[in-house]
């Protein structure tokens, strides 16, 4: 029995620029320098240029833990997960899943994994929920009597028994996601790869999926979860890897990550009449760092976060700076740093940027 459920060492994935148009959009991959090579004695030919979606990712995931891969859109989360589930071949580096090499033992890797990629779109909308599960049970080579028993149990588990014979196109997004999760569990795989499992769900459906994920861990599954929702990663994960521009820039438990940053408090404000000059004034205040702004829908109403080691000392200065020249403070809270603040501290930008 391998010590680690997943072991990745120095995984790199580069895409040729032409072929990676879609990936670049998805992954925001950073461009590597174009290379030049001598093609013919009489002329120089421009070689292919590459975008690096994953740049030397190494991680080890323990048996039975939930590992959260947290990063903004385009950070390299999905590419990493696609390499681990053998959809993509790494440009370099190695990984083992359930003890099997992703290059040499791809079939065994796929047998060891349950995956939810692309969520609700990963199942057939013109089939019923039951037909979807019967179909995927056959693809996972589960004998029919066993498949029938598992499908019955999974439908009960996901509270979908009553709608099992309806076409999936009539399901809510949350119900579709639960069928996608059931599909991943059919072969009772030891490891689950869940790529943005709550993306696009309403809060109630997202909470339901998070409950299921927590229960799956309790039942012994190892789970690699990618998300750009920091609260989700914080709530579910035993350990978190923060990924940005294809690199893991921090890896630890959520609490340890939050304790890493020097600024122990975050001042969150809603400011009406915001203008860019105000950002410069706030950044000049002593003992503050990492100012991040977000428009709240109307032209001049902004949410502004500022990290500080001591909020009591800086508050008078903040209030005085904000409440002038037509701008005023609408709301203000002093909060403990979240994982997003850790990310801001590490990269200088917000997760949603």
């Amino acid at each position: 029995m391998p010590t680690w459920a997943i072991e990745a060492e120095n995984l790199v994935k580069k895409f040729p620029k032409r072929a990676s148009a879609n990936d670049a959009a998805q992954e925001g991959a950073q461009a590597a320098k174009p290379t030049r090579r001598l093609a013919w004695p009489f002329r120089r030919k421009e070689g292919p240029s590459w975008s690096t979606a994953v740049d030397g990712v190494s991680l080890k995931i323990k048996q039975g833990e939930i590992f959260g891969l947290l990063g903004p859109n385009g950070a390299g989360k999905s590419t990493t997960i696609r390499m681990l589930c053998t959809l993509l071949e790494p440009t370099s580096g190695t990984a083992r899943v359930n003890g099997y090499d992703i290059r040499q033992q791809a079939t065994q890797v796929r047998q060891s994994l349950g995956t939810v990629l692309a969520g609700e779109r990963s199942i057939y909308w013109k089939l019923t929920g039951r037909e979807n599960l019967e179909y995927f049970a056959a693809l996972y080579h589960i004998p029919p009597p066993l498949a029938r028993q598992r499908i019955k149990e999974l439908l009960e588990h996901m509270e979908l028994t009553e709608r099992a014979n309806d076409l999936v196109e009539k399901y809510s997004t949350g119900m579709k996601q639960r069928i996608a999760l059931s599909k991943a569990l059919l072969a009772r795989p030891p490891i689950l790869l869940l790529d943005e499992p709550t993306l696009g769900l309403d809060p109630q459906a997202a909470r339901k999926v998070r409950e299921i994920v927590a229960q799956l861990k309790a039942e012994g599954h190892t789970i690699l979860l990618t998300t750009h929702y920091m609260e989700e990663a914080d709530q579910l994960s035993d350990r978190i890897g923060i990924i940005d521009q294809g690199k893991i820039i921090a890896l630890d438990t959520p609490e340890a990550l939050k304790q890493r940053i020097d600024q122990q408090e975050v001042v969150r404000m809603e400011i009406s009449g915001w203008h860019q000059e105000l950002a410069a004034s706030l950044q000049r205040l002593p003992n503050t760092a990492n100012l991040v702004t977000r428009n709240l829908g109307s032209d001049s109403l902004y949410e502004v976060s500022l990290q500080t080691a001591n909020s009591r000392a800086v508050l008078p200065g903040i209030i005085q700076t904000v409440n002038q020249n037509g701008t005023h403070l609408v709301n203000m809270n002093i909060v403990r740093p979240s994982l997003e603040d850790v990310f801001i501290n590490l990269t200088g930008k917000a997760l949603r940027d």
Partner: protein, 291 residues
């Protein structure tokens, strides 16, 4: 929430020949269920066997003249016993190849558009099964299409197929490997290049001009007849006309059947090799997940 009695297991499911067959059958069943849930196929199946040959039949009537002497000349040149049946058999083979290029050729691409290709690709099933399995319902629906064509040709155009039905079925069976092999090759290329309309139009245009869909090959210049020989659809159309309209025997059909089987072996092998190539390329470029 109920607890599962099968939480997780480190042991892997056993894969055997029967389990591979079940997977192949599951793909075919899935494709069939999706096909019948879009009921517009019934209308298409009823109208296309009439509409498409009609334009050639009316053109033929116009060219035949008031005493139908033009038609007599056509019969002499082509060796056909009746004009309508001659045209309908040509257009039916053309439509068969055309539908296979669109349906089988786009089978994987359509999965990609739906977003389901990756979830199939991540199972341990033999990946060619997705393409092979999805062609089974296509063969079944084309069987229905051919049956409806024969019925409508008799009822509406008065076509009498006077050949041995078993030999006609044998010719149809001999056409399957080449038609579907070309479809498999097409499907693999479509995943890589993401666009196929141009190729479909090119192939069906070639079949239309070179294979004698509505006229005898003797009308073509010599160099065009040379090209026609290398297109399997030429031999399909010729063999079907011999079997259905000229009551040809097995020994008379044997040369065409041998050629068709040789083309079938070539295109099935080409389809499989291109699929393997596409699969390797897709792992490098991420083409499976791209829309």
């Amino acid at each position: 929430m109920a607890t599962l009695s099968f939480p997780s297991s480190r042991s892997l499911a056993k894969m055997s020949l029967p389990s591979h067959w079940r997977a192949l059958w599951a793909v075919a069943r899935r494709e069939w269920l999706i096909f019948i849930r879009y009921p517009s196929w019934i209308i298409q199946m009823l109208i296309w066997p009439i509409i498409f040959p009609l334009m050639y039949i009316f053109t033929g009537r116009a060219l035949a003249g008031p005493d139908a002497s033009g038609l007599q000349h056509f019969m002499q040149v082509s060796g056909a016993s009746e004009f309508n049946g001659y045209v309908i058999l040509g257009t039916t083979i053309w439509m068969w190849q055309n539908v296979v290029l669109w349906n089988v050729g786009f089978a994987l691409r359509e999965e990609q558009w739906r977003g389901t290709l990756e979830s199939n690709w991540m199972t341990p099933t033999w990946r060619f099964a997705y393409l092979l399995g999805s062609s089974f319902p296509q063969v079944a629906s084309m069987g229905m299409f051919l049956g409806i064509t024969a019925l409508e040709a008799g009822l509406i155009f008065g076509v009498r197929l006077n050949g041995n039905p078993w030999l006609m079925l044998l010719v149809l069976a001999a056409c399957i490997p080449a038609i579907y092999g070309l479809g498999f090759a097409f499907a693999s290329v479509v995943i890589s290049v993401k666009e196929a309309n141009t190729f479909v139009f090119l192939v069906r245009g070639l079949v239309m001009i070179f294979c004698g869909v509505s006229f005898p090959l003797s009308m073509l210049p010599g160099w065009m007849r040379g090209i026609a020989f290398w297109l399997p659809q030429t031999h399909m159309i010729d063999a079907m006309r011999q079997a259905a309209l000229s009551n040809a025997s097995l020994s008379q059909l044997a040369p065409s059947l041998n050629i068709l089987l040789a083309f079938g072996a070539f295109w099935l092998a080409a389809g499989y090799i291109l699929f393997q190539w596409m699969e390797r390329q897709a792992r490098k470029t991420g083409a499976i997940g791209q829309y």
